[in-house]
């Protein structure tokens, strides 16, 4: 069953007097429960496609439907609500809030819900436990290693029980051992029913995913 439908999506940017076509005529369907890799060289448009599917950047033309919702027909505030409900992001540089502890960073998506503090805390500790960082929940990001920060970012992405996780080069700055642990974690989450879309240019990561999509020069090059 298709969870995500990308139809005729184009994205262009104005760079000076020139218009750069970042994505051309993208059509794509992603099923619920898939673990998908978006692959391609630097500048191919994979991160742009990720930000469009993640509800962060509207396409120049075309539509995005997630769970039968026409995402870019929503106004900006409803779009924020949509991201909050459906989407979790794991950024390349982890993007943790530096002045919040690991626990507080994980609780961040819950701060705008009506859940009481105790429940928020329990939910955050549960996911920190899941990523193996419960014992370091009171540490600030700068007191954690890169791999640990990445796992905090994953905990933050899943704490609100979204339908989809978007991960942009999550293993890009990790050593191979930590990268393997991270991919194992993704695989576990995927087996729990989460749909995961991961941008990567490391072909070794393909062993962990259900499907891979290649983008070259803004065009889907291959849909195996």
């Amino acid at each position: 069953m298709s969870l995500i439908k990308v139809c005729e999506v184009n994205k262009s940017y104005g760079v000076g007097d020139k218009i750069v076509e970042a994505l051309s005529n993208i059509n794509l369907e992603i099923n619920q429960g898939e673990f998908l890799a978006l692959m391609g060289p630097s500048g191919s448009g994979k991160s742009t496609l990720l930000s469009i599917i993640g509800g962060l950047t509207p396409p120049t033309s075309g539509t995005l439907q997630i769970d039968d919702i026409d995402v870019y027909a929503l106004d900006s505030e409803r779009l924020a609500d949509f991201r909050h409900e459906y989407v979790g992001f794991v950024f390349q540089q982890y993007q943790l809030i530096p002045y919040l502890t690991a626990l507080e960073n994980v609780m961040l998506p819950l701060a705008i819900t009506s859940r009481p503090g105790k429940e928020q805390r329990e939910m955050a500790l549960t996911v920190l436990d899941k990523v193996g960082l419960r014992s370091k929940s009171l540490r600030l990001p700068n007191q954690l290693s890169g791999g640990e920060q990445n796992r905090v970012a994953i905990a933050r992405a899943i704490v609100n029980r979204p339908a989809i996780i978007f991960a942009d080069e999550p293993t890009g700055s990790l050593d191979s051992k930590t990268a393997k642990e991270l991919l194992e974690l993704f695989q576990t989450l995927n087996k729990d029913g989460l749909t995961i879309i991961m941008v990567t240019h490391n072909e070794e990561n393909l062993a962990w995913v259900n499907r891979a999509i290649y983008i070259r020069d803004g065009v889907l090059a291959q849909i195996p």
């Binding site: 962060l56 991201r83 809030i97 701060a111 705008i112 609100n160």
Partner: protein
């Protein structure tokens, strides 16, 4: 975790910038409160003097005055052609119904000396005087003929008690009463009845007549006909000069507060706009994980509310402390730590308003940040 928690944690993390903003609020509020407290205290002091001064019209003998200048040096004013208020003046005043007198208190004022000191002698009619000045409290009793009552300051200065005697112009007078401190000129006076005062000073006419009339504004015009040799002063005229000075100081205080407020807005605006640039990534994260614009705006408002509220309260306390400390230098009198609810609420309220006004534009910039541009990795 709430938006307030996020705001508090951010303020804790950015200690330097938080402290700078807090100090800005504290200084602006403290200076404004100091100036306005001093002005308010001056107003209250004047009002108190007016209330305590039972007479609202004072009649004194007319005199001419000029100032000598010799070789560039000014010699203090010289009075000449001093007229007198005759004994009949009192009869004339009492027989003039248009004056609408509530009470009348004539005085003979002169001086007398002993071997060591000179004294201010005030001859009064005690029943009339007490009617006009109900705040007089006497320890002992009012003097009869050839007896005196002394002010609290004089008693303390010369260590005199009831039963002691006072030498005045080579005669000894028993002290039968001591007036409790009034904070006024009475504290150093020697009070007696008219006949004794005439005996001591040799003055036979009235030195001053205090009136309490229902129509002080019309009294001056009426009395110029009744007593052509008298100078009539309404208390409102006497305090007018002081009032004008106080009004000027009050206006200066308000204007200074306004300018300080504008400077504060500018400083906070520049600082917070700079902070927004440092926090673009953070704002991008908030937006990416589903924070609405109003949530981000609420975080900024909470941050500035916390700082401005703390700054307002500390600034107010510092302001009243400073005004109490510098009052002896500025007003030549001490000032207590008076809590003025209006100044407190205005100061703290103004602090909060300054904060919110300053943050509006930076917060507007923040909520309109594109999350993708903010997160360079996406």
């Amino acid at each position: 975790m709430t938006l307030t928690d996020i705001a508090i944690q951010n303020l804790r993390r950015r200690k330097g910038k938080t402290l700078f903003l807090l100090l800005t609020f504290i200084l602006v509020v403290a200076i404004s409160v100091t100036l306005n407290s001093l002005a308010k205290n001056m107003q209250a002091d004047l009002q108190k003097s007016l209330t305590q001064y039972g007479a609202n019209v004072v009649i004194t003998p007319k005199s001419e005055q000029f100032t000598l200048s010799y070789g560039g040096l000014s010699v203090p004013g010289v009075n000449y052609e001093v007229k007198h208020l005759s004994a009949e003046a009192l009869t004339q005043l009492k027989s003039y119904p248009d004056l609408m007198l509530n009470s009348i208190a004539p005085k003979i004022i002169g001086s007398a000396s002993s071997a060591d000191n000179r004294y201010l002698i005030i001859g009064v009619d005690f029943p009339s005087e007490v009617k006009m000045k109900p705040w007089w409290h006497i320890e002992g009793r009012f003097p009869l003929e050839q007896e005196v009552l002394i002010g609290y300051g004089l008693a303390k200065q010369e260590n005199l008690v009831i039963g002691d005697t006072l030498e005045l112009n080579r005669r000894i007078y028993p002290i039968v009463g001591i007036m409790q401190s009034t904070g006024g000129s009475e504290d150093n006076g020697v009070f007696t009845d008219f006949s004794t005062a005439r005996w001591i000073t040799g003055i036979d006419s009235w030195s001053m007549i205090e009136l309490n009339t229902a129509q002080p504004a019309n009294t001056a015009a009426l009395l110029s006909k009744v007593l052509p040799d008298a100078k009539v002063s309404e208390i409102s005229q006497l305090v007018q000069g002081t009032q004008e000075n106080i009004d000027r100081f009050t206006s200066f205080s308000l204007l200074s507060s306004l300018i300080l407020g504008l400077i504060a807005i500018l400083i906070i605006f520049v600082t917070t706009t700079g902070n927004i640039n440092d926090r673009i990534t953070e704002i991008g994260i908030f937006r990416a994980i589903g924070f609405r614009r109003q949530h981000i705006f609420a975080i900024f408002i909470r941050e500035i509310l916390l700082i401005s509220l703390a700054g307002g309260i500390i600034g107010y306390l510092l302001g009243i402390l400073t005004s109490a400390l510098i009052a002896p230098m500025v007003l030549q009198k001490s000032m207590s730590f008076a809590f003025h609810p209006f100044i407190a609420l205005t100061a703290i309220g103004a602090s909060v308003i300054i904060g919110i006004v300053s943050i509006l534009f930076p917060a507007w910039l923040a909520i309109n940040i594109d999350p993708v541009e903010a997160l360079s990795s996406i």
